[in-house]
Amino acid sequence: MIEARIAFQELRQRAGAAYDATELAADVAPTERRVARDRARQRGLRAVIGAVAAAGLWFAAANVPWGGGQAGPAHTPTAVPSASPSISALGLDLCLTSASLVVGKPTETIGGLEGWFNSTGTAPCDLSTEWDQLVMAHPDTILINTTDNTMMEAYYRTSIDALGAYANLGPDFVVPNPDPTWPADSLVLIDAKTGEVIFADPISDYSEDISDTAKDDATAGS
């Protein structure tokens, strides 16, 4: 028997040997530039958030009744709120909020899809990745099978109320107002709030070779 830990160390040693040929090993400057760019962008974002918060405080102070219901004197806050407000405190932690599933009607082989719309992040949203941006823009989504215009699944991070009628479509899961512009025989993901089509892929794309890849798919899911 070989200790798994030893095998892992051996593996890392072999993998590390390839490091010398990487661009990072040759020159760290491009990475430094990326860091510097991100730090500058974050400083800018914090400044904007701080300014918005300060404006909100100023507006509230200027409009809150003072004394006997009279509007008080305009008050300019003397201290700007923390320059680094918590992102989650601003309600931007949807990336850490797991998506709840509302089960609909599967096809013969496809029970649903897995993607950013029903995954949970490992860090708060920082808006610098596509994944974060998608989750922020579309926290509640509905997956529709346009073959028979039924709901396959729905996913919500905010509230089940966000799904509207899709929260309970009855036993047949027929969607209430199918959009004629949805492509036929496809799986269409729409934003629950706006109805925006986020993506639409032919079912055949998912069904192709599904039996050959079933084993990998099953073990690759998390």
Binding site: A15, A18, T22, L24, P106, A214
Partner: protein, 183 residues
């Protein structure tokens, strides 16, 4: 030169190889490993919290590698979920000859790549970084019970294809792997 640049340069010079090896084992691909490491460095150093010392930065970058790896895998593509997707572990390909240590490492690399991203991250942190379950959970931002389950599943799968490897650790009681355990 600012402090974070100093720490970044020293980290890459002194620990780059180890961090790259870690990323390589997770991704199984040199280019992806380099991208992952660079992304993790950017994540770690853009906040400034981790740039106070090489050791602190090293820990933070390792954590960032794991989380960036999982996030990447998650957003890589939308994939269908089968109506019935019970994995038939007995059907997995089994490499016939594992005797030498190097061969074991190479077989391990192939086997690790068959694991789901979170399982892969857990098992790598456990056996490559010698982390305890609580530390793994902290690094991945998940509950200890969840980390334990991922680790249990991962080890159970690896034992099927790599029967010659001993996955017991000194504190293995916390990751007791029993045959036929619930998934």
């Amino acid at each position: 030169m600012s402090d974070w640049r100093d720490v970044l340069e020293q980290l890459v010079m002194a620990r780059g190889k180890a961090l790259f090896g870690y990323a390589y084992v997770l991704t199984g691909n040199r280019d992806e490993a380099e991208d992952l490491l660079q992304d993790a460095l950017v994540r770690a150093f853009r906040s400034g919290r981790s740039a106070q010392s090489i050791d602190a930065a090293h820990v933070y970058v390792k954590k960032a590698i794991a989380t960036a790896f999982i996030d990447r895998a998650r957003r890589a593509s939308v994939r269908p979920r089968l109506v019935s997707e019970d994995a038939a572990l007995g059907d997995w390909p089994v490499t016939p000859d594992h005797a030498p240590r190097t061969d074991a490492a190479l077989d391990l690399q192939v086997a690790v790549r068959t694991l789901a991203p979170r399982e892969r991250a857990c098992v790598v942190l456990r056996y490559m970084e010698d982390m305890r379950v609580e530390e793994i959970a902290g690094a991945l931002g998940i509950a200890p019970g969840t980390a334990k389950r991922y680790l249990f599943d991962a080890v159970a799968q690896l034992k099927v294809v790599l029967p010659e490897l001993d996955f017991a650790m000194q504190d293995a009681a916390e990751v007791a792997v029993s045959e036929g355990g619930e998934r």
